[in-house]
């Protein structure tokens, strides 16, 4: 395969400067409700399993046992895992895009540190106590607009108060009278925060969010969570940010080909996209869905037909706010000397540039403010115009 290094990312910094002055008035005038959905892929998503390169003999040789057969061709250089039907549909409708050979700036290959950093957006593990989405929401004054589809508030959303979460437990909510009684008790004791919570809970009871599935096990699967989240997000006064988690990408063994464990996790991600697209309805056009993972995986399969922790990987993006279907990359190549540490796909772009640009577009914030206040002024590229619609 001969992919020439593309220059789409080069010169971005200059473009940023050039456009900065023109962007501001446009940003201020936007009043649409735009949604951001982040899907956290825990365990290290293999970008080369999800979006393999076409015709690279080195790659095929090193992955004999776990190569994905019959991938869907996306362009001359890249293909898509054949089980990612929902994403492929987005692609065909010009609302699906991929950034390849990217990563957060973390190379030490520990899940725990990596996952901490993919959420905090920083460089030193465990140092930051807030997440990049939470900080940007605070900057955009989006209080009470976050929805986590998990029980503890993920670090990613921390930094802005009054986020809601949805992760149903077994059992039913009490009768409305009981909730009202507690609410009046909290009112009498000036327990305002508890009162706020009772308002959320009463709303949820009316929306019947607790039912529909027989066990909490099913209720908590992303298949249900994504449908319920879409129902929230599409409301004009609903949340503007939702955060999902997909676990299990850490396939050291039996990663398998098209029916393997890694595929299972990718399909779970794909189902979230499918449900969001279907249930968001009209709001899909004003939504941006993004993935984030702690690192990619080694090029070479290991003795157990799995892969080890790596570095460069891919970001999936879907939704009506995508500029056009395209694989964006400054491809580093897969020859040994082109690999990171001689073993991993290199990252030619700091993934945080994509996230900062996405939030600039969705939250109508100036890129430079995000760069400065969310990412401590680190060197990031403004890709908003290349990747997203304003």
């Amino acid at each position: 395969m001969k992919i020439s290094r593309r220059d789409f990312l080069k010169g971005s910094a200059a473009t940023t400067l050039f456009l900065a002055g023109f962007n501001l008035p446009v940003l201020a005038s936007s009043s649409r409700k735009k949604n951001l959905v982040v899907i956290m892929l825990r365990g290290g998503m293999d970008g080369l399993c999800a979006v393999p390169v076409i015709g690279d003999k080195d790659f095929e040789k090193r992955r004999k046992k776990i190569l994905i057969e019959n991938p869907i061709k996306l362009d001359t250089d890249f293909a898509l895992h054949p089980k990612l039907n929902a994403f492929h549909k987005c692609w065909k409708e010009n609302t699906g895009a991929i950034v390849h050979a990217t990563s957060i700036p973390y190379t030490a290959r520990s899940h725990f540190e990596g996952q901490n950093l993919m959420e905090s957006g920083g460089r030193v593990p465990y140092k930051e106590k807030t997440g990049w989405v939470g900080r940007a929401m605070k900057l955009a004054k989006l209080q009470g607009d976050g929805l986590a589809l998990s029980l503890p508030m993920p670090l990613l959303l921390r930094g802005v108060p009054k986020n809601n979460n949805y992760f149903p437990s077994d059992g039913k909510l009490p009768r409305e009278d009981t909730l009202d009684l507690l609410k009046s008790v909290y009112a009498d004791s000036s327990e305002e925060e508890l009162m706020d919570m009772m308002n959320f809970i009463k709303k949820r009871k009316n929306e019947d969010m607790m039912s529909g599935y027989s066990s909490s096990w099913d209720k908590r699967k992303n298949n249900n969570l994504s449908k319920q989240a879409a129902a929230y997000l599409r409301k004009p006064n609903g949340p503007r940010v939702a955060v999902f988690e997909v676990n299990g990408f850490d396939t050291h063994a039996a990663q398998g080909g098209v029916n393997g464990t890694h595929t299972k996790c990718l399909v779970e991600m794909d189902d979230i996209i499918k449900n969001l697209k279907a249930e968001l309805k009209d709001a899909y056009k004003d939504t941006l869905i993004l993935t984030v993972t702690e690192f990619g995986r080694t090029i070479k399969q290991n003795g157990g037909n799995g892969t080890e922790h790596g570095y460069g990987t891919a970001i999936f993006m879907a939704g009506g706010l995508i500029k056009k279907s395209q694989v964006h990359t400054d491809w580093p190549g897969l020859k040994r000397k082109e690999l990171y540490d001689g073993r991993d796909l290199n990252a030619t772009l700091d993934a945080r540039s994509v996230y900062a640009s996405a939030m600039s577009s969705v939250f109508d914030l100036d890129f430079k403010r995000i760069q400065k206040e969310v990412f401590w002024g680190e060197e990031l590229q403004n890709l908003s115009d290349k990747l997203f619609k304003a």
């Binding site: 508030m153 077994d170 008790v185 919570m197």
Partner: protein
Amino acid sequence: MKNFFRKVAFGLKPDEKAPSDPLVWAQKQVEIIPEFNWKGKHIYSEKEMRKYWITQRVEENTTLRKKYKNDPEGFRRAEEQLRNDTGQRYWPNNEICIRHAEGIRSDNPVLAKLWYFWTNHFTISDTQSLAEFSTGAYHRDFIRANMDKNFETMAIEATVAWPMIMHLDNKDNEGPKSQSAKEEWRRREKRPATLNENHARELMELHTISPDAGYNQKDVEELAKIMTGWRPKWTKNKDMGHDVTFFSDRHEPGKKYVLGKEYKKGRKSLKTVIKDLANHPSCREFIATKLCRYLITDYPTPEMIAPVIKAWEQSDGYLPEVHKAAIKVAFEYNDKYRKFQNPENWWLTTINMSGSTDKYPVSEYNMNKFVFGFKPSQEMRFPDWLLEDIGCHPYKQKQPNGYSDLEKDWLSTELVIRRLIYAKKAFHQYKVKDQIDDTIHERIIRTNFDNPDKILKIVSKAKTNEEKHMILFNLPEVLKA
């Protein structure tokens, strides 16, 4: 006054007689460390638990991966069987039963509540299957067992214990100028000896002096150098769960300087530096603040913290004296300040006040029925599920800084829904005769509140006994103690 029993313990059982001198009652409990209340047959030391951990990890990571490399389904099945063989799903439940029996079945609930405080202070977060095999035992062997010693002793033991060294990666902390750094295999395998600062940073930031002490990155690196070489011994090229010892060949040579003080190379320096950190003024201030936050209020005042610091100084950090001082301050501020209870402590209070401590935690008799190779029963697995579901599992913190102790972090829609649902579940821990006993709530309330009539009036608005439970245990008076 009766709030005090919820503040430093878990309330009183229905019809339990309140101790005549609550302060003395509470302080006496922290003087010695009694035997565990739990009499089940599976109480193993942290070291003994490692052999199950090894079987699980080594088998899973090597044997099974090789055997089922082309068979993902077979791999999943074999993994599942291995879990049953090593008791992976049983151990955390067993440990939680031991932990919770101390809180609501023993004669020393105050000691138990403080034990929970320290297990969160020295958090082992959820990595490397430690939650399933080791964390509970670590809490018993290195935290509780040292609650009648000086803080310095607890800090040293908690630091060099195998689970903590594993958890904070000190096993990978190797001196770049050490003897081992020069070995040929490192070049061959591209594994240079490098510092791993993780444990050193947390030892200062979370376990002892806190960032308030004003240390810098250089101090962290220097402390990391002192800690190089402290790791478990490997055999057969693997971690086989051996004790942590000092390997001088991996230790960074030369003098180190932490907070301006010089430390010599070698094994003795680690103890010396922890001793210095434990006796640093910022350490006692940090821990006194955390203790007051745990027992009294989210934002303790300097007046609350001062007596605890003083007790620390006078007793050289002797924990029973420090605890007594904190209890006394909690007693004095009992009427003025209420502390929002984390989900675990709230659940124990709910069960204890309900009087269903024979049903929860699961009895020794039922836990003893576990057979290796089989999945534990639903009943045996309730404690683990419960704590995960209420979002406060003491072995499954996501980060080394443990659970937050601030009300705002425990107020999310789902977490508040859990309190409603689990108050109901607590009601269903009752036998039928208690469920239909219409005097039960009055008895609970009269025993546990100074203003029973006001509480009774609110609770009586509920239609059923089940609803009364949900209301009572979600009143501000119970959520906050």
